[in-house]
Symmetry: C2
Subunit: 315 residues, 2 copies
């Protein structure tokens, strides 16, 4: 049976899997350390693909997911953090040449969104907005069954949309992005700033504080910690209102570690969203939910990309 090979190149692990078209589970998969800062990354990638390569079945296409920035149209990585070897690197062309099979590349957030659309929480929807809230804020947008990629392949960078031009600096260096308000590090930074101003809390000024620490303090009733998540949720609602006005999806799916805290973030999010959406029709029938595929979203997204680009019919 014809198969699809998918690879998810994460910061710590490379995962490869091979899929037949009739099942969501891979027929074989393998993971190895990425070791991004060590030489030989392309050989490790070839090796992990070879390790899952089907012996008796043909491979129709290879889908590759990686952190950006990258160009999905050419398959080049542009400047992945922590990996100088792969700057301006023709990843998909090299994989295609090595294996003699078409290879397609896109970034992890786009592919997680595509995976959720095709196999997860978004199944059956044609207009999907996926937002991952984690160390950063990324997004994947599907419009009428097609992944939004953009002219330079840099569309759907919704974590870097400006929600307050006078807001705090983002990890990217620019001010007032959604990511600078609602990501895990943004929540921590807000708490640290308030502690510095003398606000009382069970949390102590500690550079190793994580968003999880803040969540635990909030669940124990700490007012500052609660407020930090409420503020993140409020801005997430502001950003999402604008994204509804821009894309008008039928479903919004939240992935990423920070989105797993539940009401702590999402109670304020829902209040804010309803206050900010300028026409009630956007909310008619709108599903707002969390991701279903967990760690497999990226891998299944890379599979979906390969299937869609190679125009494979699946069940």
């Amino acid at each position: 049976m014809p198969t699809i090979v998918a690879v998810d190149i994460g910061g710590t692990q490379m995962r490869a899997a091979v899929y037949t078209q009739d099942k969501i589970e891979p027929i074989r998969q393998k993971k190895i350390p990425t070791l991004a800062s060590k030489p030989g990354g392309i050989d490790r990638l070839f090796q992990v693909i070879e390790d899952v390569w089907p012996k008796n079945d043909s491979v129709l296409a290879i889908g590759l997911g990686s952190p950006g920035p990258l160009d999905p149209h050419t398959g080049y990585l542009l400047a992945p953090p922590n990996n100088p070897e792969w700057h301006n690197f023709p990843l998909a062309p090299k994989v295609a040449e090595h294996f003699g099979v078409k290879a397609f590349l896109d970034n992890d957030a786009n592919l997680a969104g595509l995976g959720e659309y095709r196999y997860g929480a978004g199944k059956g929807h044609r207009n999907v907005l996926y937002i991952t809230v984690s160390t950063g804020i990324g997004a994947g947008v599907v419009i009428e069954d097609r992944l939004l990629q953009g002219h330079h392949g840099l569309a759907a960078e919704l974590g870097h949309c400006i929600v307050d031009p006078n807001g705090p600096p983002c990890s990217c260096g620019f001010n007032g992005h959604l990511e600078a308000f609602s990501s895990g590090p943004a929540i921590v930074k807000y708490v640290l700033g308030e502690l510095e101003s003398g606000t009382k809390s069970v949390l102590k000024r500690d550079a190793s504080m994580t968003a999880r620490d803040v969540a635990e303090a909030a669940k124990a009733g700490d007012e500052l910690a609660i407020r930090a998540y409420q503020r993140a949720g409020e801005y997430l609602g502001i950003g999402t209102a604008s994204f509804l006005h821009a894309f008008d999806p039928s479903i919004v799916i939240f992935g990423g570690g920070v989105s797993q805290v539940g009401g702590l973030l999402f109670d304020a999010f829902h209040v804010s969203l309803k206050q900010r959406v300028f026409h009630p029709r956007y909310l008619e029938g709108l599903v707002i939910t969390t991701a279903k595929l967990g760690d497999n979203a990226g891998l299944l997204g890379a599979r979906a990309l390969a299937e869609m680009k190679a125009d494979v019919k699946t069940s």
Copy 2:
């Protein structure tokens, strides 16, 4: 030769035109007053279409443009301002039934964007962001040669994206929208507010002030008037930066009366945009220009909608 009938239902005029597929100019056109608040609108619409209806050629489809809110998927008008007769009104279905030809509806800004994409400044581009800056701010977005409509048909309402959550109220009643900073009335409102605070200007506190009055004062060197346009341009740059991050187009086209003032608005816009775009690649080869089709954008957009939906091949 098979033809397309296009209608642009404006606030003051209804214009109908009939096009062959080989020419940008209509073979016949007519305009009549809309008289939105007077009964009989549908009969006037039927009449103006009949007046241009080709005697010897077939009509493949009818394209209809109207101010929103409306549902392009069903062809219903939802709640057009100043026209109680057309609330929740099946405009496209009625036209289709009356003429026995498929009819398609979308809003004026989407269609102006589609018109510019197909026949105007955006010709040859596949990813187009059209923004009209006028009494309101509207937009039309084309992604890989398809008009972005959204699940409820309410996508691309970019004038109602939030650029500052603590900003002034928009015409729609919600706060901090791009339209509340950079539309004609927003420019006037800012000037009136500053005059009230005692800022000196050649402009006088006068409820009938227009954005054009402010532009004339600015061109004569009035500092307040200049600052009002600079502020509008700055926020237009902030909003557009977010739209680039969201859609990553290859061209941004500005239409609408306010966008005709040139450097008064766009000098500050360009500075702001460059300060706010978070990755230089978005600007690589990006064309930023003004609309080419003028008053015909809506009509040509209605034509393009009908052609695309009816899957007509054109030159």
